[in-house]
Amino acid sequence: MIEQILTASVFASTIRLATPYILAGLGETFSQRSGVLNLGVDGVMLMGAFFAFYTALITGSAVLGVIAALGVGLILGLATAFISVTLKAEQGISGIGIYLFGLGMSELLFQQWIGTPKSVTGFPDIFIPGLSDIEFLGIGEIFFQHNILVYVAFLLIPLSSFVLNHTTLGLMIRAVGQNPQAADAMGVNVTRVRYATVAFCGVMAALAGASLSIALLKVFQQNLTSGLGFIAVALVYFGRWRPYGILAGALLFSFVNAVQLQISAIGLDVPSEFAVMAPYVITIIALVFASKQTEKPTALTRPFERGE
């Protein structure tokens, strides 16, 4: 029975499902490491998903779709930074505002500009030569038969980890998130760093949205993300603000999801309600254990006031 459940396609599905969580989660990690909680991720994902889809639909180019999504993500990221950093608004509330804006605006634009669900060609799967053919344990199918945004997401993990832990920029981000006053005294421009990380968070959230609408699903519908962005925020806590921790969380959540779909598909007698609940229950349990060893940025959600 285990062979029936743990097939190569289930692991490949895990990789696909994890992609938007990784992209959005990495962006949120940078934002939170600098001290800014961004709860608007899901709204930015929706806007990114819409603009990527719409651009791909009218131009026929998925690459242009990604560029459009990145542009929208940057704008919304800067808007979030303006609200959270410059205006010093309460970050949780303003994040919800950004989410509601993205939800409503993407829905409105979809109705006005597209009208009815359509599909786009989007990014095709890329079979990596020499690797996608590996049949041993289904490695080829699991790791090397995906669209380009899947590869990008997984390559960004070591890159993000390197930037955060081994570069001056990473040091500044962490310093700003731990003790902004001290960082300021050392000559770090706290406002500029926070603007950069929150803008980056917006860009990554929009890319996560694009990974849904023009790569994984190749369709757009109102509220396409179904709250996926909020799970990505939870995975940042789960991952203890570390890129590899986010990878672990995203893979765990996606794996349990893929397994429950497979269990259902092969007709095992497990109530679907329990199966669907499983990913969330396991994530909550893992979150409880993870939070005991928390490495939360000390200045998270605290606006920076010079001289405080």
Binding site: P20, Q111, K118, V219, Q221, S226, L261
Partner: protein, 347 residues
Amino acid sequence: MSKIRFSAVLVVLVLLTGILSAVHAQDDVFRVAAVAPSATTDLAFSQSMFDALTLIQAEMGEDMFQFDFQDGTFIVDDAAVALREWAASGEYDLVIAHGSQYGTIIQELAPEFPEVSFAWGTDVNTFGLPNVFAYTAAAEQGGFINGAVAASLTESNVIGVVGPIEVGDAKLYVDGFKVGVAFVNADINVLVTYIQSFSDVTLATEAANAHIANGADILTGSAQMVVGPIAVAVEEEALWFGTQSSQADLAATSGVLFQVYRWDVILNDMIASIQGGTLGGESYVLTLENGGLEMQISEAAEMEEEAMEVLQSTIEDYATQIVSGDIVILPEAEATPEPQATEEAGS
């Protein structure tokens, strides 16, 4: 002189009042307001009602029929606000709550506004209230036909079904589909996944991918999240069978057959009842017999004329047997309930 002026003004006022009253009396525009849980472009449940109201408006004319439609009100409290405002305004002849989650609100509002006619679905329960219509769809009927046709087309003998939550017309459709498949070939393996969401396109897409990975060459599903599975069917060159609304445009060459809800059939009855002074107390069921369920072959399927005729004939044959009772799809306890008419019906 001033008395003459006063009398003249009085006469003018009386005349104006009379004219305005006459104009108001002649305002026989039938006004409907409706809430629905998802978008009017969901290719599923909400769109089916929006399309029906649009069709009625086209038939009756905009000067005789007008409607307001608030979509995306999956949150019941949001819908409740709209429903109450519409009922309180007194401007609408019929207020529709298109979603089974709205039943409790209607049960509360209808006694509060006895002069307003309400309709809700999918259910057949009018709560014994004289100003409530209830409606549902015998989705298992089209489900059976879809299943039987799918069974005759599958080459892998594996068919995948992506359902939302195991309730209401979605469950009836899936149950009917499974019976239809077994009716033709009991050896065919029907893989069913309920993703416990009406809107999670990502999960629905991966459920469809799981079915394809397990050998399915035909997919079907219900609710607005089917846009994901349809995209999978198109990409994997599997066949797609739909329900609630036509998804032919999105499914392109993968689309085969769609069970379309024609709510206009029962809405026309409701409108006639309300215009005749009966505000509710009756329930309706869309069936193949009353034309409320329509089986539409996809025009994009690029079938040859001969194959199309065979398919049409097969569909009609099944429909005839279902209507006559020769084919009993589900046991009575599991099938769509019969319509109800309460004794208190009428206003």
